[in-house]
Subunit: 448 residues, 2 copies
């Protein structure tokens, strides 16, 4: 345990030195253990497990683009993302792991106690067994604080999800080399630093309960960390959770989303070669290959495809305060890989440069609001990365921006003001709140 | 309004006399407005809307059958099932409709205020407009008490769902000819009668809130209508809702369900003719055609395919009491058309005669328990029909059976004890609780 975060910094630097990692870009058709289909250019693992990159055609009547095709990662397996928590002197601590992923900016980030695909923990690649897995596979080892199947990046994954778990234990837990206990406040502090707390940690932490375990009612006001301010007025009347769910049902009834798998080589506008898959405009993302050598993973070296975004994205909630309640402007958002038409997303979620060739009326709603907010309205401005095991240098600028006083009272029906406890409650049910919104929810929950 | 249910009986009999309905069986290939594909035998409406009957191949590792193919109803449109409620002298009343459907046993049953497919209310077939629709299309007409997209019969529909809404109004509501106001208790009484309250009403009523609107916390004990009894002990420790959701996440991670559409004529074991589609064993169901003549519907005559089950089914919850809490033994259940692997179903849900050729170890779990329960353990035993607009004489025997004192403490992991308020809370989120379980939930909620 660390009394000061500087001790954590020393430990983390030491962990970085303890392992030697090398990540080299290689052509897609030369990945060891993977095969590229010579006709379709789809990339699959030779075991048939892990994941594959294939083509998808999308039709929807929701959002800017109505019909398009793209490469998509197909990973039907449900993995476990689990954080073990334990009280020391009554203070909850979280067991976090310094873990290397090939797509991370500085390779090492803080991951959950357990971050394992089903192929990992059933040991398809015959590596080391997964530490602490027993706490999440057998509930008798602890008390479950949250456990939900949660979706991941809908722009890049087809129907992907992982089981997000927080388990509290009272057992003696040996702390292995790459692991450390961090307090609630220490995690909150680290969430304000760029590229330290990885995506898997953020989505799991978003599920940390508002109230003490065992208490039945979750509808408590958010933490006093967000005291009421004078000067910010609130516009739309607050919705109760029934009305929020009604808005969600209405949105899902209103829009359609149909997908069909296509050969990757038939994805219109995409250029497939033995080297990589890229868009002819150089926008969106590429699929590339990497060779990895590492000392701290289940296996010491491997190759894999990764998805490399063309540019940094933005994920931002507009927030407003009313009395002692913090609310966010949620968006009903449809993406290529969304399981069920749409999920609740941040107010703004996009890669701005994907739209820079379009006129201003085709720009994502509220993008200007969040990028041009005056400094005193910006509650959080931090860069976090998406999963480095699938995405290469995939960074998003995460923002919490207070809505200005003159913010319009009427917003497009795709948007709704939701309180933080409401979105936390809804997120307990899978496929309701998307991963970018959950990252911001984790920040809202843990920040002082 | 009716002071006594005998007044309702007179009104309902009068409604039956006021309309003349005829339903005649006709060959599938002679349905006016519908076409049977000469090669695949699939049946579609000429407008491309409403619904279609096609083939589905199913692979799952959950349940008795692992791979099979079957006809399935494909109805991607989301309709509205809405009940309007209003307080008279403080007592909640529900506006119910005497509605004819061709598949109903006695043609007329009690349906919700609004029961309309999207094709209906956008008037694809150019009939009468849908009465009271404005209360459900524009929320400013009332206060929403519940609003969820809910699944329907997973054995017969692919991913079908409807929007289930209850809206409270204070407006003056003119009562049209086929409509009547019924109290909570009157509906409870009618739910104990065979084939009166239709499926659409039951699933909507299941969403009626436990507490007064506006109050935030739903975790209240069930109605005092189920007082604690001595003599019934309870076995498994009660789970809090986090543990119930964890069980649900675990079940979804554990099993797989993949489907592919196939030509109907390729469904193995099914015999397709221009007359009907039936299984070679005469088990399961048939697809047949009907011509309908009616005076009280949006259009006065029409033809359509319907799905006719081969026999009556059973849907039963084993229930147990602890202190003043009623619990049901829920089953994680996978069906051909389930959207997302599985949903929460009754303890027993099957058509027993589909299994009568199988040895006892292949019989559905707990079927014997519910069918052979001694009379004092049977809290409810009533026959209700499934949607008469799609299913022909599709009856299920709905049972609530108290678990005997010697009921085993350890049940298969597919099953979990859940309190009635927990299942009601979970049902507020779509695709969690299946339609048969919601029918029983409606009975649990409204029965005295």
């Amino acid at each position: 345990m660390f009394h000061e975060l500087t001790e954590f910094d020393d430990w983390f630097a030491e962990r970085r030195r303890a392992h030697e990692f090398r990540v080299n870009r290689v052509p897609l058709d030369s990945l060891s253990g993977w095969s590229m289909d010579p006709e379709t250019f789809a990339v699959r693992h030779d075991s048939g497990r892990f994941f594959a990159v294939d083509g998808l055609e999308v039709h929807t009547d929701h959002g800017y683009d109505r019909t398009w095709s793209q490469p998509i990662i197909d990973q039907p397996e449900i993995g476990i993302l689990g954080i073990l928590t334990k009280r020391f002197d009554g203070v909850p601590h979280f067991l976090m792991q310094a873990k290397m992923e090939p797509g991370n900016i500085d390779l090492l980030e803080l991951s959950p106690t357990v971050q394992a695909t089903r192929s990992n923990y059933t040991q398809v690649h015959k590596g080391k067994s997964v530490a602490y897995l027993e706490y999440f596979r057998d509930p008798s080892h602890g008390h479950i604080l949250s456990d939900t199947l949660q979706s991941e990046q809908g722009s890049w994954f087809l129907h992907k999800r992982n089981r997000n778990m927080i388990v509290e234990t009272t057992a003696d837990v040996p702390v292995l080399d790459d692991f450390c206990w961090l307090t609630y406040d220490q995690i909150g502090e680290l969430l304000t630093r760029d590229n330290v707390v990885n995506m898997d940690s953020r989505t799991v932490l978003a599920g940390y309960p508002f109230t003490e375990p065992g208490k039945p009612c979750w509808y408590v006001p958010p933490r006093a960390a967000h005291p009421p301010r004078t000067g910010t007025v609130n516009r739309a009347a607050p919705r109760d959770i029934t009305e929020v769910l009604s808005w969600f049902a209405d949105m899902k009834s209103r829009y359609r989303l149909t997908r069909s798998r296509i050969p990757l080589c038939d994805a219109k506008g995409w250029i497939c070669t033995s080297e990589s898959v890229t868009h002819e405009s150089n926008r969106y993302f590429s699929v590339i290959g990497v060779d990895v050598e590492a000392g701290s993973r289940e296996v010491s070296s491997w190759s894999q495809p990764v998805l490399a975004p063309a540019d940094r994205g933005v994920a931002a909630f507009l927030v407003s305060r009313r009395d002692d309640e913090l609310r966010v402007l949620a968006q009903a958002h449809t993406q290529a890989g969304t399981l069920d038409v749409l999920e609740i997303a941040p107010t703004v979620q996009c890669t701005p440069s994907n739209y820079d060739h379009l006129p201003s009326d085709k720009q994502p709603a509220f993008l200007d609001h969040v990028l041009r907010a005056s400094r005193e309205h910006v509650l959080l401005d931090v860069v976090h990365s998406e999963e480095g095991g699938r995405f290469y240098h995939a960074q998003n600028r995460y923002l919490l921006v207070e809505a200005p006083d003159d913010f319009p009272a009427d917003v497009h029906p795709d948007f709704s003001w939701i309180t933080v406890p409401q979105i936390a409650e809804i997120a307990r049910y899978g496929n309701h709140v998307n991963v970018e919104a959950r990252s911001l929810l984790a920040c809202l929950r843990f920040l002082r």
